[in-house]
Amino acid sequence: MMADQKHLERIRLLSARFHELKGLRLALTGACITLVVGGYLLTEPAPSDTGSMVALVAAFVLLIPGIVWLGRYYDSTFGRQERKPSRHTLAFVVGFNIVAWTLNAAVPSIPAGGPTLGLVVMGSLWLAIRDWPYRGYYAGVAAAVVAAFAATASGGGPLAPNLTLGTLFLAVGASFVPVGLLDHLLLVRLMKETSAAQPERARP
């Protein structure tokens, strides 16, 4: 009975987190951010926060075809599923933007994009705790951002202040690659485990 319970819990986890576990999309996003923002920091003689933001937007535009292709790959390989509609998403996005804008306006030392990076740290820690032990590796994203912040002038480190945002974007992008790959591997492993556990008990 306990084995069945565990099997069903795994099915429920997989069904509830299916879209989040399509990790190749996150890995591609991370790779694009790393390449574009990293390229900008390496080639621009005097990188700025604004330039880093533009590089980030360019990375997002570049990855659109890849995301569409990966969406088709996941649909055909693992099947389609629609999430329950979330009632709080819109309220959260609006609320967060108001808070971020107010913070940026009131505290000039916080670079544009800083609150978003804070959200990435909090969000990744929350994911690591919520899906522990399956997705504990999300703590690595938070660690990478905090380490990158500590390395910049705003965090008391040796890197120049104009590198703060670019370095943080680079850290986020680079940490998304392994985390996305691990999510994808978790999806494949859970699918294999749940489907392998069923057939012996499943005659109609």
């Binding site: 997989l14 099947g79 489907s195 069923q198 005659r203």
Partner: protein, 110 residues
Amino acid sequence: MPTPFETLASFDRLIHEPARLAILTALSACEKADFVFLRNLTGLTKGNLSSHLGKLEVGGLVAIEKTFAGKHPITYVALTGEGRDVLKAYWKRFDKVREGLRRLKPLRAE
């Protein structure tokens, strides 16, 4: 008061069957899922899955919707309101049985 074993025996076979319970559990965590997703998740063959879904549909626990994505036919399956209520009630009873079994004392040889 029924014993845990009597309660267990009185469970509705439509839900209590492992493959159908797996299908319902998967559907309870999402809005709707297609046939390929359910087949991957449960490891059932096409025929077995169709048969189980047919029984669940006749029982009013799931709704099946056939549609197209471009030229590809897709079969979506979703839990009905009744299906959600029945599954919730099932887990409530199941937890009670588990609690009852935990309270049972093992027999000692005299």
